[in-house]
Symmetry: D2
Subunit: 154 residues, 4 copies
């Protein structure tokens, strides 16, 4: 899905450092075992290994854990396009869960589709990775509100 989306230029040259450091200050991501693996302008990837403490009762990763990393990838994707000192806040997201959370690790990818001045619209995906193969298991659309102050995600 990445290929033919337009890319948007960052307003802050330090967008990558800001994204990575903001991520490390989110305790829930550490609780889930997630890490940020790619930070580009308008595009972020987060990885989360399969682990017993994030499952539901049938041995799959809980939809709540999947949603959390995709929302976070979308939020930081929006952050990369913010000027210094501004932040974003998720106002809503919708996720379609297409296959169970089964695999070695999960890659959440978030990209900015519409970088508005007040609202940024993002598209997120989650892939289950097994033996080097990726399968799309969830798709999200999310709206981020732009905050003049660092806000919720900085």
């Amino acid at each position: 899905m990445a290929a033919d989306h337009p890319r948007f230029p960052p307003k802050d040259p330090d967008f990558e450092e800001r994204g990575r450091s903001g991520f490390t200050r989110q305790p829930l991501m550490a609780t889930l075992g997630a890490e940020i693996v790619l930070v580009e302008p308008g595009y972020v990837e987060i990885a989360m290994p399969f682990a017993p403490h994030i499952l539901q009762q049938h041995g799959f990763v809980h939809a709540g854990a999947i949603s959390a990393i995709v929302d976070t990838a979308c939020g930081f994707a929006a952050m990369t396009l913010m000027p210094r000192g501004a932040g974003v806040l998720t106002t809503e997201f919708k996720i379609n869960l297409m296959s169970p959370g089964k695999g070695e690790r999960f890659i959440a990818a978030g990209r900015v589709v519409r970088p508005g001045n007040k609202l940024m619209v993002t598209l997120g995906e989650c892939f289950a990775e097994t033996g080097g193969t990726r399968k799309l298991i969830a798709m999200m659309t999310a709206t981020m509100m732009v905050m003049d102050t660092p806000g919720i995600v900085d």
Copy 2:
């Protein structure tokens, strides 16, 4: 919002026991510190105390943690109306995050709005509780697919 929704009868008299025991077998709920506090036919409440390990970087509860408990409340609300041996699976949800995750504890309430044979439509809410007062901070609509087998949520 609860008052004038129709209530639906359970098909399995042991619905409450099934709901409570299913919940305890979801490791993510324990990871988040959540517990199930009310199980009625078509209606479930989950409580999660404010805690450092579920926050984002500004000291609010992460939207991912809020979403996880509301989705789970909606899933178990649907479960209470399933016959024995059947389960449900979240196929999609959408959440509007209306206020930051700030408070002493968070109550996620899920209710069944449309108990179909194939799909169940649910409405979820999250309240932040502080000093005994509840404030609505998030609203969700979610679709659960009915599984002939115990499925994802049992």
Copy 3:
């Protein structure tokens, strides 16, 4: 669902007149045969009779026509809480279609759940009315952006 939602006071005493006149200036509503039937602070109802030109190929009202009146009810519900000179704009909505569009007429009800300064979150419902009985057939959540100028919906 109406009963236990809080009601919010209007900022413009002429909210009803503004809502009704704004509605009549929406040609799509006339095209669909819809009319506004109730305007209260934070709550609006729109009615649309069953008619051949709004159907899909199996004789039910098209989901697109249902969505259009529920979105409009939500938009005008938000409008009733705006100060004079301000307007709202739908930024996103999600609708769950629970039963086919079958009935004598359709009542779309929109209510404001969270009247924010920048964004207003609304909950919409659509009822199919037959022989005086109402059946809930669709549920929507929608976000309206507040516009300093009259904006899209005025």
Copy 4:
């Protein structure tokens, strides 16, 4: 967005004829002035010219009309992958409206992202076309339920 999505094979070689004839039997599409312009396996485009009877009061195309054509494009995209005699039914959709409905005509594109046996997940987009240039103005995700009988969309 089209480029790197997998394509899925049709189960009925007459998928295109079925899609086109099903579309012509949807009176709402004629009411809106919409026509189906491209039918490929898992992918459908619908075009709707700007016209006075589909506007809201500020001279833009009403969000309800935009939603109707994107939902329909997603529904027929799913239809192209159905075996003969089966149909689909929209159970939910969510749309992000990113820019006003302003342009000469509007192209709604729907594609199947996950062709399940019970549920099909689709991604829709709406482009405003002006002087040969296309601008993305809306994005939708929609779930279609598979019907053994021709169902709502056939």
